[in-house]
Amino acid sequence: MPKKKDEHRIGVFICSCGTNIGGVIDVRKLARDFKDYPGVTFTTSNMFTCSKDGQDKIAEMIKEKDLTGVVIGACTPKLHEQLFREILEENDLNPFRLAQANLREHDTWVHGDDPEVAYKVAYDLVAGAIERAKTLEDIGFEEYPVDKSVLVIGAGIAGIQSALDLADKGIKVCLVEKYTSIGGYMARLEKTFPTLDCSMCILSPKLSAVERHKNIEILSYSEVIEVERDYGNFNVRVKKKPRYVSIEDCINCGACERNCPVTGRAEWNLGLGDRKAIYKPFPQAVPGVFFLDKDSCTHWTDGCTICAEKCPRDAISYDVEIEEIEIKVGAIIAATGFVEMDIEELSEYGGGKFTNVLTAGQYGRLLSLVGPTEGKILLPPSFEQSPKRIAYINCAGSRDENHRPWCCNFGCMYTLRHAEMTHRLYGDDIDQWIIYHELRAGGKEYEQFYRRVRESGVRFVRGFPSEMIEEKDGSISFSVFDQGTGSLLRLNFDMVVLTMAIDPSPGTAHLAHMLGVDRSEGGFMKELHPKLEPVNTKSRGVFIAGACQSPKDIPASVADGKAAASAAASHVLKGKVRVQMDKAVVDETLCIGCGLCEKVCPFDAISMTVRDDERQLAEVSSILCTGCGKCQVVCPIGAIKRKHFTTEQIEAEVLGLISAHRKREQSAKTSGGVSS
């Protein structure tokens, strides 16, 4: 608060910002012109107000002149507002006593070609800021405790990496995985580009480490169903679906699977081949036990109990209910990954119709030694014969305004990997063609890998296919105009592999909503800033990692996982969250409980609560409120105020701006009349 209610002592600091501002307007004159402005005690200009010199000057003047408010005419507050606030605070002036006029983005960058106009605008903006500074109030902050624990949603390579890094810092981690085993997409891969090292060989040590780490609790076959903010923490409800096989008792003997009479579609192999109703998706699965799929099992329809009878350890029980558990964590990392776009959407490529058109993911399963064909390339549905000719079609559905406009990021490399692996296995026995448009090999040593594949004898055709038909013998023919030779080709293949467009995992939209995270094009989770805050989100304490943010390959997902772990760790290790109270506040004497504010709040920060006097009034959760001000706008009687941007403060600024403008116009008229 000012020392005396009506006495203002405002300091005005005008920044030249090198030539950004000073190159357009005379900053020294601007500072001088405010010398006698009502309420202003001190004015100056600097070359760089954000520099050490500039900072010292502000500190010095706050003390020397006993300032009640600081006005800085410089760049956008997005850049240095925090710094300037800290200087105020260090010098015993409340940090919210700062008003910034954006002379750069709002003026000199816009009116650089007209210095005269630029000067006038600058004057008005500073005048507005001074009037605003006169109305500013002290604002405090609140602190809430934060638990030293993190929930990681999704146990693919990104989530696993986050969990391990956090656990190593002594932070408790709850790792929730929707599928029955952790590992994610990487566990499906036989080899990884560009080094072609065995995927499971490098992944399984991490799976074991996660399983054995005392700070990590794995909740597999589980889903997050509710997330609620509890001041600094989150209360999360997780649904644990029954696997009907006890993790503790199962000894992995496989008797259940061998005797199970029911087959279902093998999800793990992306629909290629069958599996039993009770099964283990892959040998290195973690938890490393069997699992009963209720949807395909006939126990509930026909009363089959064979597996339970054959189990030597009585590990199978059909009477397990869905369990819901509640956990409290200080931060959340979403790492929910991706899926291939549904092949049936690509009817022009015979997706879902032509037997020998597969997705790249499916082809990857054929290459897997523990996949449906034990690593052999065989034609579906019988899987008896090898194809003589294979075409890989890149960007199937990607970079296509009719399907998925974005680039899938790793498809080019994924295709090259398949071609190279196939070449190593079959040599010239399989004639391989890659139909591509642009080949993107931007990662470390990716270009070298691309060259190696070209040298393997794979034929590259630049263009997209058309007129694709299934011949009587099941082979696929299509036309493609090859830009390289300038000729229209009619090609025929025994197998066509579509390198599919990439979507976020199903359920990403729902989860993002629960977490208060925005989504970007295609439904991927949105980062706070695409370059500078790639794993943070607009939701405090919620971080994202891996392909849920955008399609990413393994190195990028691991880097993300590590980054998110680091960001989440620095959030929870502080033990508390400091929330500045420049939020919405309700004046309970005015509130009529109409509930309009509750309806418009985009962050669910407002609720109607019953008070002691039984009136139902609006209440703001300061931890959820982001200070967007929507409530202030809709409140019919001005009972709810967004502190630091109250209607009065905004009005003061606007009026200051207008009156400065008017005064100048008038004096120009009078003096103009005399001189000309």
Binding site: L439, R454, V461, G484, G486, S487, L488, R490, N492
Partner: protein, 180 residues
């Protein structure tokens, strides 16, 4: 267009796509086994060779297209193209290739394969004939000019027999004989 022959049925389509069966998968390997052909596969279809070529604009099939055709196996089309014989051998394409493909050298290889199948311009065979018969491409006609400059009247050290002997037993000899 009028039908002149006995052919019945539908007319041919205007653009007959090149069918896969017409592609010779071995062509790439054939070229790669020839001198300086090894880097062929590194081509990534950037068409820098065509940009660098001073005469590509008058070629129906551009340099990069020839290279891509070799890779895809369009042997007949490449070897019968007139363009390979219109190469200036200025090596601009080869010098500029970002992947180290020896483009000009590969066109030399193509010309050799074409020559082997008698697809060679008469004027080039005529040069071969000249070499075989005279042992050199240029013959001193104005020896007085040489004498004016204190030079021996004949080209010193040049053996015409050597060329005749060597090339008589190679493709040049066969082509010249076959040409008669």
């Amino acid at each position: 267009m009028t039908e002149t022959g006995e052919k019945k049925g539908l007319p041919d389509v205007f653009i007959e796509p090149i069918n896969m069966s017409e592609l010779d998968r071995g062509f790439r390997k054939e070229i790669q086994s020839m001198p300086n052909g090894e880097e062929l596969s590194a081509c990534f279809a950037c068409s820098t060779c065509t940009s660098a070529c001073p005469v590509a604009n008058i070629w129906e099939i551009k340099p990069h297209q020839l290279i891509r055709m070799i890779i895809l196996g369009m042997r007949e089309k490449v070897l019968s193209s007139k363009e390979i014989w219109l190469c200036l051998t200025c090596f601009e394409c080869q010098e500029r290739c970002p992947q180290g493909v020896r483009v000009t050298d590969i066109f030399f290889d193509c010309k050799n394969l074409a020559a082997e199948e008698n697809m060679i311009p008469d004027s080039i065979v005529a040069l071969g004939k000249e070499l075989l018969e005279k042992g050199q491409l240029y013959i001193v006609t104005a020896d007085w000019e040489r004498e004016d400059l204190d030079l021996e009247p004949d080209v010193p050290g040049l053996s015409t027999d050597a060329v005749k002997r060597v090339l008589g037993g190679t493709r040049t000899g066969r082509l010249v004989k076959g040409g008669k």
